[in-house]
Symmetry: D2
Subunit: 363 residues, 4 copies
C-alpha cells in the first residue's frame, strides 16, 4: 500500500519515481524504526535500503509488525557497496566508532550522509578523542556540519556530511542559544538538568534498560561526565565567542520518549518573565519547529511526542533572580530521526518541513 499511496492517502503514479533514494543503516534500533516511520510517508523519498545485523534476511514487517502492509522491504546485512550503489543519502544509525569506519567510504563515492552517532559532531578531533576514542577519519571533520538547523541552516544546505546532534544537546542548545547570543546570561553558571525517556538508552538488551529496573523510579546518571557535555559546550562556545563550561546532569524517567531540560542561568541584565518570553519568541519567530509558550506556561514532553517540535517555556524566578528555561523535545524525533530528515530536506533544497508535519500524539 505504502508504495502507491502518498502521505495524504491519495494514490500516486508509479512512474513518477520519488526524487531521493535513501538508505537506513541500522534500521531496527529505535532511531532506525523512527526513520522508517517518517521516510515511508515522506513525499519525496523512496527507501532503497534498510540494514540490520541482527535481523538480516527478514522482511521489515516481520520484525516490526507495526509496519505490516506499509513496507515491503527486506532487511539486509550492511555492505558499503550496497549503500553506495543504492543510496543517494544514507542515514547512519550505527553506534559511534562503527559509524566512522564506514562513512568515509560512502562519502568518497558520492553518497551523502546524515550520521546519527557522535562521530562527526565535533570540530576538534582532540575533544572527540578525550571523550570517546581515537578518531578514524579526522580529515572528514572539517567537512562535516553539526546538524542543528536553528544554528547552522546555511552550512547544512551545502553539506554532504551531517553530524546529527545528540538528543540532550538538541534540547539544551535550543533553550540556551537565545540567551547566549543575546549576551543575556553569565557564562559561568549554566546548569542543565535533563530528564529523558528510556528509548534514549537504545534497544540493546541491557539490565539497566529492563522494564522493572527503570519503571516506577527516577535517577541521575553519569553525573558530571556524560558525553553530551562537550557537544553542548562546543556549540555554546562558538555562539559566545569564548569557552563555555556547563554543569549537565541527565536523569532517566519511566516513559518511552521525551526529554525535558530545565536550564538555570544568571541574568546579566534586568529581565522578568515577560521580557524573557519576548526575547525567546522574537528569536525563534521564523523557526517552523520551535514554539515558545506564553509567559507562565511550561511544556510537557507529551506535547511534542512523535513530532519534530521543540516547546519552550521560560521564567525569571523573582526571588532569586535566576533565569529558568524549560525545553521539551521528543528524543527520537527532534533529538534524532526527524531532525535527521529536516537536515536531509535542507541538503536537498526542499522545504525543511516536508514529511515532518505530524501532530503530537496526545495523550
Amino acid at each position: 500500500m505504502a508504495d502507491g499511496v502518498r502521505a495524504d492517502g491519495r494514490s500516486i503514479q508509479r512512474d513518477s519515481d520519488p526524487m531521493i533514494k535513501a538508505g537506513i543503516v541500522g534500521a531496527t534500533g529505535y532511531t532506525g524504526i523512527e526513520l522508517l516511520r517518517i521516510l515511508l510517508r515522506h513525499p519525496d523519498v523512496r527507501i532503497t535500503l534498510a540494514t540490520s545485523e541482527k535481523f538480516a534476511g527478514k522482511k521489515v514487517a516481520e520484525v516490526l509488525p507495526s509496519l505490516s502492509g506499509a513496507c515491503d522491504l527486506s532487511l539486509e546485512n550492511l555492505s558499503d557497496s550496497q549503500v553506495i550503489k543504492n543510496c543517494m543519502v544514507a542515514f547512519c544509525c550505527l553506534p559511534h566508532k562503527e559509524a566512522m569506519t564506514h562513512i568515509p567510504t560512502w562519502i568518497r563515492k558520492g553518497t551523502k550522509v546524515v550520521d546519527l552517532s557522535a562521530d562527526f559532531r565535533f570540530r576538534s578531533p582532540a575533544i572527540y578523542e578525550e571523550w570517546y576514542q581515537k578518531h578514524a577519519a579526522p580529515d572528514l571533520l572539517p567537512e562535516s556540519v553539526y546538524g542543528l538547523p536553528e544554528l547552522h541552516r546555511d552550512e547544512i544546505k551545502k553539506s554532504t556530511l551531517i553530524g546529527n546532534p545528540g538528543c540532550y544537546p538538541t534540547g539544551a542548545l535550543l533553550g540556551l542559544i537565545p540567551l547566549v547570543r543575546e549576551k543575556a546570561i553569565s557564562l559561568e553558571d549554566i546548569i542543565i538538568d535533563s530528564k529523558s525517556g528510556v528509548t534514549g538508552a537504545g534497544r540493546s538488551p541491557e539490565l539497566e534498560s529492563l522494564y522493572s529496573e527503570v519503571n516506577e523510579s527516577v535517577h541521575a546518571y553519569k553525573v558530571g561526565c556524560h558525553r553530551h557535555t562537550p557537544e553542548i559546550e562546543q556549540e555554546l562556545s562558538e555562539v559566545a565567542g569564548q569557552k563555555v563550561t556547563v554543569t549537565f546532569t541527565p536523569h532517566l524517567v519511566p516513559m518511552d520518549r521525551g526529554i525535558l531540560s530545565t536550564i538555570y542561568a544568571k541574568g546579566l541584565r534586568k529581565l522578568d518573565s515577560k521580557s524573557l518570553t519576548r526575547l525567546f519568541s522574537e528569536f525563534y519567530k521564523k523557526e517552523p519547529f520551535v514554539k515558545v509558550l506564553p509567559a507562565g506556561q511550561f511544556p510537557k514532553t507529551k506535547e511534542v511526542r512523535g513530532t519534530n517540535n521543540c516547546l519552550i517555556g521560560v521564567a525569571v524566578d523573582p526571588r532569586s533572580d535566576r533565569i529558568v528555561v524549560v525545553s521539551a523535545i521528543d528524543n527520537l524525533m527532534k533529538g534524532a530521526a526527524s531532525q535527521a530528515v529536516q537536515n536531509m530536506n535542507l541538503m536537498y533544497g526542499l522545504d525543511e518541513r516536508l514529511g515532518l508535519n505530524q501532530l503530537p500524539l496526545v495523550p
Copy 2:
C-alpha cells in the same frame, strides 16, 4: 501553518477551499482531541467549529499546547444553530443522552452526523432503553447506520447519520465476524476478554481514573454488565441470522491507549492455526485497515498506536481444540476518532483511507 500546508507538508492554495466543512462538538475530551489531530491534517477537510463547554472562549492551542502553531481555532459553546450553519458534517463527542437531544435538530437541517456516543448505535429502541435510558429520538434509529465499515460499508456511503461503534465492540467484532459469517464456531460459547488503556474512561476527573489508582495494576470491571455487550450481540446476531449471546469482561490496563481483545470460541469444524489464519486473511484481504498476522504471531496494542489499524492473530489451542483470536486496536482511533473519519470519508464518496495513513508510533 496548518491552514496553508497539506498533510505532506507542501503548501496549498488558499482559494481551493477544502470540500468538507466539519465541526467537532466536544473537542477537548480525548476523542475530540484525536479528531482535531486527524482532521487538521486531512487533505479534504476544514474544521469550522470546535466546541467545549469547559473551555469555551479560549484558543484551542491555549488549552492544548500540543497544537501550538497548528490550529488557530477558538473553542465555542455549543449552539445548534452554529453547528447547522457552519458544518456540513458534525462529529458529535457528547456523552450519550446529551447527544440525542441535539442531533435530530442538526440532521433535520441537513448537517450530516457521525455520533461517537451510543445513542444511535442500536436498531432496537427497546435494547437501548434496557441498557441506557429512554430514547429521545427513536424515529431516527431506522435512518442511522452502525459505522463499522468492514460490515456496513455500503449503507454508510448512503447514510447521513452514523452511530460510530464503541471501542470494545470494534475490536471484538473484527475478531468474530469472520468466524460467525463462515459458521465456523458455536454461537453458545463466545467469550471476549478485553484489556483497555485508560483513555477509554474519558477525560472527566474521576477518582477511578487518577494516575495512582490505575497505575501498576490491572483489574476487571462491570463483569457481566458492560453496556458494550448488547452492541456486540446486535451485530453478531445480524451476521448469524439468529440471536447470539456473549460473555464479555472488560479490564483496565495501565497504559494510555489500546484495546486487546482475547476471544475464545468452540470450532464447529476441524481447523488448525494455519487454516484459521487463512480463513481470516481471505476474509479481510481487501480491507485497508485490518491486517492478519502470520500463524503463530499475536499483536501488541503498541503496534497499532495512533492508527486506524486492527491487527489480528489467531490460533487453535491444540490441547483443548478451542479457537483463540486476539485483536488489537487503538481505542481512540479505530475504536473512536479515526473510524469516525473513515465513516465520513465513505459518506462523502472519498477514498476511505484519506487522512488516515499514519504509521504506528512505536515505541
Copy 3:
C-alpha cells in the same frame, strides 16, 4: 542494623541465634531479591548464604542499594558444599534444568529445599519431559511436594523438598479449586485468561523485556503452549479425580508486579453471584492468605502488591449463565518468594504467617 533488630524494630539479643539458617541460591534475580527482603525481616531465620553467578564477590548492598544498611552479606559463587554446610534450608532460584543438577546433592546431605523452578513440581517425569527436557533426578519426584499450602498443607509439613508453584498456576488454582472440588463446574470448558506484570519474565537482559518494548502495550504470548499449563492441569486433575484440560492464555501487562487471572467456567448447577461468593468464602474461611471479596467486587492486583495475599472476586454472568472468577496475586510473592517462605514455615512447624504479614503497598 538488620542483624540486631527484629521485624518490629525492637533489638534482639545476638546470642539467641534464630533457629533456621537459610540460603538463597540465585539471590540477585527478582525472586531472590524478594526472598532477601522477606527473610531479612523473618523473626526465626538467619540468612547464611546468598549466591550470585554474576555478582559473586560483591556485597549484597553494593549490588542492591535498596538493602543499604540492612544486609551485611557478600554474594558468593554457588558451591554445593557451602550450601550443605551453611544452610538448613535452601531456597533455590536457579533456572529449571540447572536446579535439578544441584538439588539432589543438597537433599542427600540433609539440607531441605524449596525449589522455585519447575523441576520438582511434577509428579510424572513424562509430563515434565514433554514440556521441558529430560529429568535429571526422576527418583526425587515422588518425595517432592507441590507447594500450594491451600491444597497440600499436610504433605508440605512433612516434606524436605518443595516444588514451589509457578506464578500463573498459583492464581489460577486458587480461583478454580473450590469449583472443582465442589463439582460445581463442567471440566470441559475451563478458560484461564491471565495478565501478568513484567517481573514474571525474570531479570535477564532480553529484548522482549526492555522498558520501551513492553511499556504502553499489552499482548498475549505462548498462546496454547505455555509451560504452566500442565502444572495447572496436574493439580486440577488430582482434585477432580479425572483428567482436566484447560485453555490458558498468558498476557504481558506494563506493570512490575501482579497477576490477574480471569477464569471462565460453565456451572453444573444453579448458582448466582451471591451463592457463588458464599461457596468461595466458606471454602477459604480458614485460609490466612486467601480473601474472598463481597459479591459484585473484583480485585485489583495493586491490592495485593508486596504481600502473600490472594484476593478473589466471583460472579455469574446472568445473561450467559457463565461463571467468572477473578483472582489477584503478586507474582513475586504468593506467586514465588512469599509462598516459598510460607512453605518453609510449614516445613519447620512454625505459624505459616511468620514473616509474611506485610500489608499491600497501595498505591
Copy 4:
C-alpha cells in the same frame, strides 16, 4: 487478624493493650492510607479512630480492599470530641487551612498532634500568610516543632504539636543541611531541581492528575512559586544563621511514589567527590534512616520505596567545580506518613525505628 498479630506475625495477648491510642483524621487520602498501613503493624500503637468525610459509615476494608482481613475499623465523620476522647495522638491529614481550625481544640484538651498539612510548619505567621492565607492559630506556632528528626530531634521529643515537613523540603533539606552546617557552600547559589511521583498531588479527582494526563510525560510546574520554597528556606536559614534564598523547581514524573532532588551548589573550599562523600557519611553516621552511597553512586527512588529511608549520593563536577547532591525519598513515607510515625515515636520516648523497618519494595 491484625488485632491479634504483631508485626512479626506472632500472636499477642489481647489484654496487653498497646500503649498508644492513635487516630488518623483523613484516613482515605494517600497519606492516610499509608498511615493505616504503618500503624496497623506498629507494635505499640492501636488505631482508635479513622475519619473520612467521603466514606464515613463504611468499613475501612470496604473502601480499601487492600486491607481486607487486616483492619476492622469503620470510617467516621470528623468530630473534635471523638478525637479528644479516643486519641492520645492524632495524625492530621486534613488539607491546610482546615487543619488549623481543628487542631487547637485537640491540643488544648490534651491530644498530641502530628499535623501533615503546612499549617504548623512555620515559625513566622507572616511567612505562612504570605504563601498560604491568614493563620487561624498563630499563638500555637511557637509551641509547634518542625518535624524533621535529623534537625530537631530533641525538640520533637518534648513537643505536643508537630508540623510534619513537606515532601519536597524533606528531600531537599537532608541533601543540603550537611553542606550548610559545615559552611561548605555559597548560600547565594543553591538550586534544587526535584522530580516527584504523582501521589504528591493527592487523591482528589483533578484533571491534572488523571492517568492519561501525566503518563508518558514529564513537566515542571509552579516554577519559582511553589509553597514548599519558604519551608526549605526557613530551615536552611536557621541552620546557616542568616537568610538563605533558594531556586526550587518541582517536576511531575509518571510514577506513583518517590522524590528525587538534584541539588546544585558552589563549594567554598576545595572538595572532591570522595571528600564530599566523607563529609556526608560522617554527618549522618548515627542517623538510622539516612544512608550515604559510596562516591560515584547515585540513588534511584525505587530503592527507598515503601520505607522511611533517604538515600544520598554526592559528587563534585570536576569540570565546573560545582557540587551536585542527589537525594531520594518516598514522598508518602519519609516525605509524609512514616516521618510522622518517626515523630510520634520520638514524642513517646520510643525507639524511633519502631514500626518503620520495612525494606524497600524492589522492583
